[in-house]
């Protein structure tokens, strides 16, 4: 089996990619995703996307409303690595000008990311991120 580089290193680089994402540029983050047909993305702004073309288009739309931002921190809640799959659960914090807003505002996401070894590195095969980092009213599930 091909040696796989360290997941922590990949995560750190992904977070650097998110710094660019918060400036409206999705390209560095895209490099960390698997480009295969079974890649999936549940981002905070769209229903699930499947397959690289759809995932890439969803990332383009996701980055477009963000300007002048930065990635601030990631808090790891859980991380589990096996030879064939790995996952991490984390809270990600950043700040940006979002959509029509002129002021820099903080954002926070809770994210699950699942990785698979592809060509000697860990690639994101699934990312699920939403802004639920505080208590929500129960009724919020029927308003989605």
């Amino acid at each position: 089996m091909t040696a796989i580089n360290d997941l922590d290193e990949v995560l750190e680089q992904f977070h650097l990619g998110q710094d660019e994402f918060a400036k409206g540029n999705p390209e560095p983050c895209k490099k960390f995703f698997s480009h295969r047909e079974d890649v999936t993305l549940n981002n905070p702004l769209s229903p699930p996307a499947r397959g690289w073309d759809e995932v890439a288009a969803t990332m383009d739309r996701g980055a477009a409303p963000f300007r002048d931002g930065k990635f601030l921190s990631a808090e790891t809640i859980q991380k589990h690595v096996t030879s064939e799959l790995a996952y991490v659960v984390e809270i990600e914090r950043g700040e940006a000008k979002v959509a029509g807003r002129e002021e820099i505002t903080p954002w926070a996401l809770r994210a699950t990311m699942i990785f698979r070894p592809e060509e000697g590195t860990w690639k994101v095969v699934h990312r699920h991120a939403d802004p639920i980092t505080t208590e929500q009213p129960a009724e919020s599930v029927v308003q989605g």
Binding site: D38, T40, N42, P44, L45, S46, P47, P48, R50, P65, F66, I77, Q78, H80, T82, S83, E84, L85, A86, Y87, V89, I91, R93, V98, A99, R101, T105, P106, W107, A108, L109, R110, T112, I114, R116, V125, H126, H128, D130, P131, I132, T133, T134, E135, Q136, P137, A138, E139, S140, V141, V142, Q143, G144
Partner: protein, 144 residues
């Protein structure tokens, strides 16, 4: 492949348990989760919970918010099974009386679940669920 069959069986049991959950009883669902310290739950009602004790509390609270419901069905978006870890990405559809609402209302969740074999039995080690099944405005990620 046996591992795949067993994951499918766990998912099938999860559907039956969800039917009880939506009537306010979380006990069947709890039995399908790992009860170890690294179990995590990112449910639609609040921030991620980790460790069995906290995850069980969060499930009790969530179940107390739903009544007279039933599990309607699910749509699998991705599924990947390895010997040590497996995951599924899907949309779950249900209906229930939620929170303060007196009427039975349909709702949908997009879900990531991660499974691990423990003592020869597949268990849920992570569940991430939110109600984002339609496009949302970028401002929804702002933390206020």
């Amino acid at each position: 492949m046996a591992a795949v069959d067993n994951v499918d069986e766990l998912i099938e049991q999860f559907h039956l348990a969800s039917d009880e959950f939506l009537k306010g009883n979380p006990e069947h669902t709890k039995k399908l989760f790992s009860q170890r310290e690294d179990v995590t739950l990112a449910n639609p009602f609040g921030p991620p919970a980790y460790g069995w004790e906290r995850v069980a509390e969060v499930m009790d609270h969530a179940a107390s918010q739903v009544r007279d419901g039933e599990f309607v069905g699910s749509e699998t978006i991705a599924k990947h099974v390895t010997a040590e870890l497996a995951y599924v990405v899907r949309i779950e559809r249900a209906k229930a009386k939620v929170g303060g609402r007196g009427e039975i209302t349909p709702f949908a969740l997009r879900v990531t679940m991660i499974f691990r074999p423990e003592d020869g039995e597949w268990k849920i080690v992570h569940r991430h669920a939110d109600p984002i099944t339609a496009p949302r405005p970028a401002e929804s990620v702002i933390q206020e």
